[in-house]
């Protein structure tokens, strides 16, 4: 009954198993059942060999204890491939077989040929909660080696931990604040982001006339994180401190400049054709000196005021340095 193609497949699987089923240390782990059925009777041998490949791969890479396929097939309690396939598609049937085998999860699938293509699907069924944890489907063109490679890759994908995406919902007072996540502008509040990979994300919320809010938040798998920003999180940015600070600084500079100019004038030698006229000039220079001192004093006062404003209202003047607040 077996054809030349079947013989070739058998040889390829034998070589693969010789490589794959390498001695490995036994380790305590979950027990798992693996079974691949052929889509038709003529694919039964292919399915059987593929089961062996899967068992070897899962045992080597997943560290699972594998229940024997014959035992699994026996627990299914069916006589032919068709009936077995029906049981695999029926989770309740599969659950019973799993319970009897003492396994929690079962890798079950089917394989078939269509012209020069192989097609197979694999399910990772959880018999405890009756859910399919993961499933893969592949259409493979090429030889048996390509099929084996595709099956191995599919096996890795099958056991890759599945993470559910999350979302972030941002609301603010006032509305209309611009929201960026991971430096990508998303829109204005209120806003619900698209799906996000679970993990940490940088969220930044900006509103005109307000200091921005930024935070690094962690989105759990399947979580819809809600961020509600109140006015304390988006404090209003005052507009007058820059005018006051720079204005007083300008006044300080002007005062110092005026003081310097007047001081220079006061230090000039009094002139006059007579001593009386020179005294009058000296008197004027006394006034210059007094005015210079007043200017210097005013400069000190304005400078102190300016310094106070620059320190006290530095965020309003220079803007707030980027900082990550706790998520409200």
């Amino acid at each position: 009954m077996s054809t030349a193609r079947d013989r070739a497949i058998a040889c390829a699987f034998a070589a693969t198993l010789g490589l794959a089923v390498s001695p490995r240390p036994a380790r305590a782990g979950e027990k798992m059942a693996v079974l691949v059925l052929g889509s038709s009777e003529k694919d039964a041998e292919l399915a059987d060999n593929l089961t062996e490949v899967l068992i070897a791969y899962v045992a080597q890479h997943g560290g699972f204890e594998i229940a024997g396929k014959e035992e699994f097939r026996a627990r299914l309690g069916v006589e032919n491939e068709r009936r077995a396939q029906d049981c695999l598609d029926d989770i309740s049937c599969l659950g019973r077989a799993g319970v009897s085998l003492g396994v929690r999860r079962i890798v079950a699938g089917s394989v078939g040929t269509r012209g020069k293509q192989f097609r197979f699907n694999l399910n990772l069924d959880n018999v405890e909660d009756g859910k399919v944890e993961s499933r893969v489907f592949r259409l493979v063109e090429g030889g048996v080696e390509d099929l084996i490679k595709a099956v191995q890759e599919a096996s890795g994908e099958l056991f890759r931990p599945h993470v559910d995406p999350g979302k972030i919902q941002v609301a603010s007072q006032p509305d209309g604040a611009r929201v960026s996540i991971d430096n990508a502008y998303l829109g204005v509040t209120p806003l619900i982001s698209g799906t996000l990979l679970a993990g940490k994300h940088n969220v930044r919320v900006e509103a005109d006339g307000h200091f921005p809010w930024a935070s690094r938040v962690e989105v759990l798998p399947g979580q819809e994180l809600q961020i509600r920003l109140n006015p304390d999180n988006l404090p209003r940015r005052r507009t007058w401190p820059p005018y006051a600070a720079y204005g007083s600084a300008a006044l300080a500079l002007a005062s110092f400049a005026a003081g310097g100019f007047l001081g220079e004038l006061s230090q000039l030698q009094p002139n006059g054709t007579t001593r009386q006229l020179a005294m009058d000039d000296l008197d004027q220079k006394r006034h210059f000196a007094l005015a210079a001192n007043i200017s210097f004093g005013a400069g000190v006062v304005f400078g102190a005021v300016s310094l106070y404003y620059f320190i006290r209202y530095r965020d309003d003047i220079f803007g707030r340095a980027e900082r990550y607040d706790d998520t409200p």
Partner: protein, 464 residues
């Protein structure tokens, strides 16, 4: 807030701008003494300043602080108050130029050649004539003093001023504000041929000078006379030589204030002998001081009212004619009962004069050589009252053996010859003589051939 303002005010006062008041006060401002308002303003105490006429001594008039009316030293203020109420800084002329104590633009003018005293003024001082760069005022007072006091090399002739001389002999005009001294004082005063500053309208003069008119009365010119030794003065500032002290005759109120120096022996004074007087050392309770009879020769006058400087003096004339405005008398003290007591140690003789009414009278005059006397006390110096052959009455003279003895005596030198045993005055023209040395003209002429007057030689008339 108040504390902050206080701190700022204190900081401003400490480190703020200030006008350099002291630098301004130290600056020298020129001024114009002839201006109605010299424009000197007030000093830092608000007191009006004065314009000091330094140009009178070849300086530049400048503004200085005002002081009292009396010229005097102000040691507490390290200053000297000079005439004109001008306060000048005191300086020590013996120090180097930078250490004299005068500020920039000022030089230390010596005010006493016998002491290290000076005042700061705007002028370039001199020690020798070459220091005088002004072609008019080309003679340093040091030269004038050295020519005057030929026997004295001890005085300090530096830091003095430049003057103009030969105004009479050279017939040159003095600078504006100055007058030619010999043209304004009596010829008998032996005035040097120099220009002297005029007194200002209030009778004020620069340091080392006194206003002749102010002290001696309106009959005298308003010129500033250098305060030489024995000259009359008001304060020490007036004296170029020595200090201004009262002669205490018989009391300070009645005495004269004269420039003098202390002494203990005559030879300390005789080194100042000159045509301005012979000096003797008069011992008194305070030690002794140099004096000269010339101080008591009296000042010029027209009438008794002009005799204000010397208490008890009246105006006496040598001739009975006193009607002409140019006729000048001399302020002297009248004789008391035909005799005169020594004045401040200087013997005085009672000499015949005329009063301002033309009446014959007598007045006291220093008993110089050849003057009539009654006692030895009437004579000055070491002269005695002795009879001179052919010249009654007794006169002040000295003993001699030869003419050389008379020529060697400083009181009789140049005006006497030895007549027997006493020095006699030189003979006028026409009087019998034996030698040329007996004549004022220094020429004893033999009688002309065929002369009817006799066979003796006679003195020739002095050359006019």
């Amino acid at each position: 807030m108040g504390r902050a303002v206080g701190v700022i005010a204190l900081a401003s006062a400490t480190i703020g701008c200030r006008v350099e008041e002291s630098a301004f006060e130290a600056r020298i401002f020129t001024c114009d003494t002839s201006a109605k308002d010299p424009g000197c303003g007030v000093d830092q105490n608000g007191q009006p300043m004065v314009c000091y006429p330094a140009s009178l001594l070849a300086g530049t008039d400048f503004c200085t602080a005002r002081c009292g009316d009396v010229a005097m030293s102000l040691p507490d203020e390290d200053a000297v108050c000079v005439q004109g109420n001008a306060k000048l800084e005191y300086c020590d002329p013996s120090q180097s130029t930078d250490a004299t104590g005068c500020g920039p633009g000022l030089d230390c003018l010596r005010t006493d050649v016998t002491a290290q005293e000076g005042v700061c003024t705007t002028m370039t001082t001199c020690e020798v004539d070459s220091d005088c760069t002004d072609p008019v005022r080309s003679t340093c007072v040091a030269t004038f003093l050295k020519d005057l006091y030929t026997q004295n090399s001890t005085f300090d002739a530096d830091h003095l001023y430049c003057l103009q001389k030969n105004c009479k002999s050279g017939e040159s005009f003095c600078s504006p504000g100055q007058s030619c001294l010999p043209l304004l004082v009596p010829p008998g005063s032996n005035a040097p041929d120099i220009c002297v500053p005029n007194c200002d309208s209030q009778g004020r003069c620069p340091p080392n000078h006194f206003c002749f008119q102010k002290i001696s009365g309106p009959a005298n010119p308003a010129i500033c006379i250098p305060g030489l030794l024995g000259f009359i003065c008001e304060t020490d500032i007036d004296c170029l030589v020595g200090k201004c002290l009262s002669d205490e005759d018989p009391s300070a109120a009645e005495g004269l204030k004269l420039c003098t120096i202390p002494c203990s022996r005559d030879d300390e004074c005789t080194i100042f002998d000159s045509n301005q007087g012979m000096f003797v050392c008069l011992l008194d309770a305070n030690g002794g001081h140099c004096a000269t009879p010339n101080s008591y020769r009296g000042n010029s006058c027209h009438k008794d009212a002009d005799c204000t400087r010397d208490v008890g003096t009246s105006c006496f004339f040598q001739t009975p004619s006193t009607t002409a405005a140019t006729d000048l008398g001399t302020c002297l003290r009248p004789c008391a009962a035909g005799s005169c007591a020594p004045r401040a140690g200087i013997g005085e003789a009672c000499l015949p004069f005329f009063d301002d009414q033309g009446s014959a009278t007598a007045a006291c005059f220093p008993g110089l050589f050849g003057y009539p006397c009654a006692t030895d006390k009437n004579c000055v110096g070491n002269m005695k009252c002795r009879p001179i052959p052919g010249l009654p009455p007794d006169r002040c003279t000295t003993l001699c053996q030869t003419d050389a003895d008379c020529a060697a005596d400083r009181w009789t030198a140049g005006q006497s010859f030895c007549a027997g045993s006493v020095c006699a005055p030189l003979l006028p023209g026409g009087i019998d003589c034996q030698t040329d040395g007996q004549c004022r003209s220094k020429l004893c002429q033999p009688p002309a051939a065929g002369s009817m007057s006799g066979t003796s030689s006679t003195c020739a008339d002095p050359t006019p």
